[in-house]
Symmetry: C2
Subunit: 497 residues, 2 copies
Amino acid sequence: MAKVKKQPRPKAQTPKGFRDYFGAEVVQRTEMLSKIAGVYHHYGFEALESSAVETVEALGKFLPDVDRPNEGVFAWEEDNDWLALRYDLTAPLARVYAQFRNDLPTPYRRYAMGPVWRNEKTGPGRFRQFYQCDADTVGAPTVAADAEICAMLSDTLEVVGIPRGDYKISVNNRKVLNGVMEVAGVLDPSDPDKFASERGIVLRAIDKLDRLGTDGVRALLGEGRKDDSGDFTKGAGLSVEQAEIVMGFMDARRDTGAATVARLMELVTGSQTGTDGVNELETIATLLDAQGYGPDRIVIDPAVVRGLGYYTGPVYEAELTFEVQDEKGRPRNFGSVSGGGRYDNLVKRFTGQEVPATGVSIGVDRLLAALHAKGRLTKETTGPVIVTVMDRDRMADYQAIVAELRNAGIRSEVYLGNPKNFGNQLKYADKRNSPVAVIQGSDEADRSVVQIKDLILGAKIAESASPDEWKDRPQQFEVARSDMVAKIREILDGQDG
Amino acid sequence: MAKVKKQPRPKAQTPKGFRDYFGAEVVQRTEMLSKIAGVYHHYGFEALESSAVETVEALGKFLPDVDRPNEGVFAWEEDNDWLALRYDLTAPLARVYAQFRNDLPTPYRRYAMGPVWRNEKTGPGRFRQFYQCDADTVGAPTVAADAEICAMLSDTLEVVGIPRGDYKISVNNRKVLNGVMEVAGVLDPSDPDKFASERGIVLRAIDKLDRLGTDGVRALLGEGRKDDSGDFTKGAGLSVEQAEIVMGFMDARRDTGAATVARLMELVTGSQTGTDGVNELETIATLLDAQGYGPDRIVIDPAVVRGLGYYTGPVYEAELTFEVQDEKGRPRNFGSVSGGGRYDNLVKRFTGQEVPATGVSIGVDRLLAALHAKGRLTKETTGPVIVTVMDRDRMADYQAIVAELRNAGIRSEVYLGNPKNFGNQLKYADKRNSPVAVIQGSDEADRSVVQIKDLILGAKIAESASPDEWKDRPQQFEVARSDMVAKIREILDGQDG
């Protein structure tokens, strides 16, 4: 047999735009997903885990953010079919509901959590694989379903550790914007396709309010806008008067929900769609009030414009209102962690029938980043108790020790590297952030004792300016083997406190 | 603007070989993963969640089962690089360890759980996406690491609900087989490449012991084998004497571990590698014994031959020993749910340095199927309490009722479909497997009462031959609104009992 030709070594590298998660990062996300699932379940939602792979045909092109140059999916051809990784959890829901609608209850409340993949330009904090955590109600036409999702979102944020006052959930309505566009003369209910291009530019413009400010948006509503690099973006061509009506919409929030509703009613005077939309907002506010969710948690705010191009009715967004420092050290609000709304056309693609649906998506990685920014999560976690190996031939004894600790509920392990250099064992324990090391040489074994080393105390003494204050607490001491478990538990309890 | 051309409707279909998981299926798997993670963590392992996507270069071709015609990955070209979905969790571990080895502790104990994808022929119960749940120790040369994984596997099976006696963990060693091949004359330690082709056939042959029986394997060790369809598979060309030595290896298990070890020692007489392998098996048995894991849980069994071509030292496998019925109604052992072993060459691909590693993979979906087969998991779970809607205009009242229930910790929801037909609301509650419905018309609202309907009792009465026996327990009754929560809790507690 011919010798196999040597291959060059492969590069050990996470693919560009992807990343790996270690230890506490994984555990904290798992715990957060579990808490969110708990709230969703409590509200009557059922779990769904759809396949990560969909046919490209079923996925369609429904990314919520319309303004991406490189929007796209990871796709490949297989058995004469194009398959792709899901880019969100909503498109798969539409497919699943259309496929299984005769077996599923209606309304169908479902939650889903898992990674999604986007084939996009990457950047700092922007990855091609990230977690979403969604809840949607399919088949419920009433805005009570939207109100319920907002209440649930509020509960969820508090359950994962964002206290009331540190977040704001804003509710808006696409129908109100449509009414405003009618009044502004860029939407004709009798000819829905007319001005479609202008409306597209209006939608994209107001989606950029955060980034461009009112002047930038106003320019895009009119003739157009030249950005800092000199590139010109063509505007919607609205007159100054038309543009003012649209700008007035985004600026319609007043001190109370009732005042905001009244202002919006003025703006949409003469438009049935607009009036419907304002009434829906009012109903949502009433229903939330009945459940005890006041404006300290959820407000009507027409400045919430993200994704209005995607949704067909109520739209909602949760942002965290506390300040963090951006990469240049400037304070800024943490910003959006969740968004959602009503979309009544997704299932129709498959079945031809309009199925009302509303839902929310929580950006779990953003929420975790927020908790880290507030110091409510730490990167370090306590490692296991380490049973060191003094005598390679007595491995069975060390295994018996660790079995005793584990049976007593204490997380622990035997050092399994090369035991020759004892210092390496302690360095390993340090790297693992271990609380305690257990040491037993043959002398200790003969006398049925073990040495216990309190590594947290040891680290404190090493750091301390006056080691004297620790002199009554020895960092290493001998105990009878029979007292080992009790003594170690005592140390662990003390370290927690 | 030109009208958009109508697209044909997409098919709502899970891609071929994939599936969706609903409700209890998702929750039960999540709970099982959480229990397994708990045991792994307790043993000192740290979580790792690597990217689902890898470069094809990093993945290599290391599928454990060598005998698949359609083995393969889902891959696509991106930015002049070939990317692929991971097909297991071991290849990514090798990449991660090679990439981050300077930051990770050594030994590196890590666990990982998540979906993997295989581009293979599908069949009943055989999907292209499934869950794995792995634990590996990288950088520990001692077989104490292998023994630890076997002990942990035993604990894990018991924690997820497989009682002792219903499973068997078998340990074997590739080195012993290598020793046997030396003695049989198809392995020459001074020229490792010689007879490589014959050894490949031997490995594939003994991997098929389960399926072909001893006669089939014997044929493949010799001239070859004609299968039922008439296809001829070329054999390894061993003489009858040589084949007998290999067959003796698979048949070496004796009543006690010591007797098995003694028999294996005989078989490998004259081979250093074989002797090393038998000594390793003996050490593993001793270490397990020291931790209290006897042959009622873990046995040395040379008939465990799966994946011996892949591993380089100890190999282990967990099978469930209870009987289930196969698709034709015949009783058979449930079979393998987990396997693993030592592989000392995976990281070397990247770094050129040999890094010892050993680990186990649990087939979570198989384990869940086992628990269902034993009746330890059910497909049905209790749904939420349903607050029905008698009067569409009083939605705020129903929302207040459900808020009160939720705040009291009771899973509940308001019916959000079209409330016109009350029968549909009860059908919905039935489909959700709801325990209780709450009913409040305007009359009840005026009197500050609600009707409570015990749906489980209702179903029992409907099924019962003698409805009389239920006459003292009304299935629907009126309570003061202020007593609603207490009364519903009472019913739910009674249903649980």
